[in-house]
Symmetry: none
Subunit: 190 residues, 4 copies
């Protein structure tokens, strides 16, 4: 029931693909236009500027992913299971759409385009989960921001490692259990 393949969508995909491979600054509007098969000027009918293009594509997918994770963990009670299911989702995502995952991984660099006071959703979600687990007595009191950062690092750095494996990137799903356990042990502390 879709209309003729939406140009805006094609532009977004091309941007994700190129930026995942080279980084925001190293990809020009010319590159994106070329990949889509239109003129540079055509891009500007769909996105007001390069910054807007990158930012809109980023937030759209980032928020979608954050929402999914939020939904997922809610169907579990205990922290260990919440972590397991979230980590698994990350791994699945990575294996299914590596371009997009990598693109989202550039969050730090893209966030300089963010409006002031923008707060990334993922860390917040993680911190809320941890706070709740502490309240329930599942884990002992701790600095949830630091714990959250350590957990994210565990997963993301591993993703980075898998990404740059030669000759072919590694799959992450097989590592899901290992990663989940590591996250759990980080939270559990001594």
């Amino acid at each position: 029931m879709k209309q003729p393949p939406n140009t805006r969508e094609k532009i977004a995909r091309a941007a994700i693909h190129l930026i995942a491979a080279r980084g925001v600054d190293a990809v020009s509007m010319r590159d994106i236009a070329g990949a889509v098969g239109v003129t540079e000027a055509a891009l500007y009918r769909h996105f007001a500027s390069k910054n807007v293009l990158v930012w809109e594509v980023f937030t759209f997918h980032y928020n979608a992913f954050a929402d999914k994770l939020a939904k997922l963990h809610e169907s579990h009670r205990i922290l260990r299971e919440k972590l397991a299911v979230m980590v698994r989702e990350c791994c699945t995502f990575f294996d299914k759409d590596r371009d997009l995952f990598t693109f989202l991984l550039l969050a730090q660099h893209i966030q300089r385009l963010a409006p002031k006071n923008y707060k990334a959703a993922l860390p917040v979600i993680l911190q809320e989960i941890l706070a709740a687990a502490i309240k329930r007595g599942e884990i002992r009191a701790q600095d949830i921001e630091i714990t959250g950062a350590m957990m994210m690092g565990t997963v993301l750095q591993t993703a980075l490692y898998c990404l740059y494996q030669k000759p072919r990137p590694k799959k992450m799903v097989p590592l899901a259990e290992t990663l989940a356990r590591a996250c759990w042990r980080i939270a559990k502390g001594e």
Copy 2:
């Protein structure tokens, strides 16, 4: 016996400072020259190109840091202590020279400048330590590359978090013990 503050050194420092703040692509030779107080052309007396400049400055400091870590851990026997001392060194480094640390953090992006077959030293060191610990029976057998990646992520993501704290970046040294324990528990597994 040092000569008057070496220009090459001043260029390197300026590059580190600017790149730490903005990223490689967003810093131009003009920016660097301006920060040093010389002409762009002068930079080419000291470095053959922008890429060479970035790469040489990066590897110099990266290798120096890797060497230091290697030396440090050798004066300890058991993994737990090795990790503790290495993590502490990272934290100290971060607190003492945030610019440089941040610059080195961009490794992934800078490594596209690397010669083929270049292999970053830090992960290798970490993997060797883990391999040895397994051999000694300190920890059970496991995929040392993944374990290493998880450990690095734990520390680096926390550094990233500390870096972007507003209004002032946070100190990392106070977190050293927490981080070291997390790394240890990651290695220890269940």
Copy 3:
């Protein structure tokens, strides 16, 4: 008996408003379309090109104004009165529709769009009046082109001055008598 607010008219008004404020070159078809609330393409239903749009709108109003002045002065016999009534009309026009007056003031810049051999009507009218006054012996013989230019300058430069008064443009009608007298004295010579 007017139709629903004619689009062509709305386009013309928007063009006048924008061009009066910014000049021909600094106003784009996009700007005009935006101000009217239609697509750029829609403009081309009403005007063949930007140049045609500007030129047609200009000549229409310019000629209308020239005609009015011509009619006006004919109901007076002597130069002094002719000048008085024409100057007053200019002032009234300025106060009533500053946008349009300013737009017409850009005549010099718009006339590069003119067809070859185009001759602006206003100077001609003025020169005819002066020629007649000389014939009648009201004023002594003189270069009517120069005298005409001086008179026009007197009024137009004053208009310019009133236009750019901050914070609000000045009214011109109160200056009508002063201006008319100046014109008269210019013609009268010593």
Copy 4:
């Protein structure tokens, strides 16, 4: 004793020539560079931007001319002579360097580039002269801003007229006396 023909000066001259003929907006950096015989990029070594280029060239010559007029009139006592000598200087200037005069004539359009609170010097000078003449009792009290505007219009519109005479622009010096007398009579009033 001059060094090899200064590029900055050549750029300024080319800009004056082109802008006098076509207006600021219709002249591109490419045009200017082409006229000078250098790359566009070379222009940016001498002027930070197109706006800066136009503005600096404009103010430099405008102020120089204003200074000259100021000096000139000071060597005369009475208004009539002051006006005569200033008008004559305008005419001489026009005949000697029509490009530059025309360029300066675009003042109104260039002044949108002006820093806030910029006040053009020429009207001020004229107003001071008029104020002094009133004080001395040479002319009766009047709105010096309006009188000034009328005088300027007299000269400038005539210049415009001379400029666009076909096939060759007219000389202005022969008109100096006529113009000076017109200015005087404007000030003198009835």
